[in-house]
């Protein structure tokens, strides 16, 4: 008799992020991590903010439109930058390792209780000036220069901002989609990290930073997870 046992490990929701990517020629908001591309439409009520900006940082009226399982960016004109904020709620881990969507006030013996915020910024067109701190992006990754490298493997200097200011100790993953378990690089005292661009295609860079809780009775901390996404075009066919 052969017994086959298998276990499927499901990444806790706190490990997921949001980012923007092209889907069927249109720009979509993705909720996931690694190859996991989950039901983002179901999570639309959690999106606190969606915004688009032109090349001179003028806001462009922007919303998300559900198209099947995908929220698509729907803006009045072509944005240069798109950004979103999603509040994923308060989560507590029991001593048995189970994650519950409850605060410490409801799970007093939790080993950890945290509020989870997800942020996403996508560079959709050429910038005429370096990316600036955007409203609502409590944690944000910004390229130091306006111009992005043209080729994968080239260096890209980034700065991680928390509440608009450079922050040290943020954990930066260089490829949130294809290497979500990669060893994070910590941002320096001036918030900077220098990475090598991973992909001649979609790049999703992730930063994670734990900030103080604004509701200590319910959460020990606030986990902020921010992505910066952009595409390096491939060679013409």
């Amino acid at each position: 008799m052969m017994i086959i046992a298998s276990a499927i490990t499901v990444a806790p929701a706190r490990a997921h992020g949001i980012y923007f990517a092209q889907r069927a020629t249109q720009l979509a908001l993705i909720y996931g991590v690694g190859a996991d591309d989950l039901d983002a439409v179901k999570r639309l009520p959690l999106v606190q903010n969606i915004s688009g900006y032109d090349a001179e940082w003028n806001p462009i009226p922007t919303k998300l439109r559900a198209a099947g399982p995908l929220p698509l960016v729907d803006s009045e004109s072509q944005p240069t930058v798109v950004a979103a904020v999603l509040f994923n709620g308060i989560w507590s881990r029991t001593p048995e390792g189970e994650w519950l969507k409850k605060g410490r006030d409801e799970v007093p013996n939790a080993t950890i209780s945290e509020k989870n915020f997800k942020y996403a910024v996508h560079i959709a067109g050429p910038l005429t000036a370096p990316l600036r701190p955007l409203p609502g992006q409590t944690l944000q990754i910004v390229p130091v220069d306006a111009a992005l490298p043209a080729l994968m493997g080239q260096p890209l200097k980034l700065r991680v901002l928390f509440q608009g200011k450079p922050v040290a100790g943020a954990r930066v993953l260089t490829d949130f989609v294809n290497d979500p378990d990669g060893k994070p690089i910590k941002s320096a005292a001036d918030g900077s990290v220098t990475i090598k661009v991973r992909n001649q295609g979609l790049n999703v860079i992730c930063a994670i930073f734990d900030g103080p809780s604004d509701e200590p009775a319910k959460a020990d901390k606030m986990e902020h997870l921010a992505t910066l996404s952009f595409v390096l075009p491939h060679a013409p066919e």
Binding site: Q26, L72, S77, T128, E237
Partner: protein, 93 residues
Amino acid sequence: MRITGETMLELVTSADGVALYIKEEDEEVPSAGISAKLTFFNSSGAKSEVTLTPVSGNKLEAKGVTIPSGSKVALQLTLADKVSKIGANFIIK
């Protein structure tokens, strides 16, 4: 010219104005029902928005529009279903 996915977009400027031609997989895409909005900034940072309308075949145009050489142009197409949108960026030669 820009290729976004399988869609080829060709933006042509002339003394008459601006024209956009759309192809997919080497076939002309009928412009009927499609609208296009161009956004660009002049050297002093003033923003201009131009709407292109279908003419015939796979062509949309806006007459009497001048886009200076070197301008960075953001283009948004709204397809015939009135909801699907495709974006592209150009630098005018």
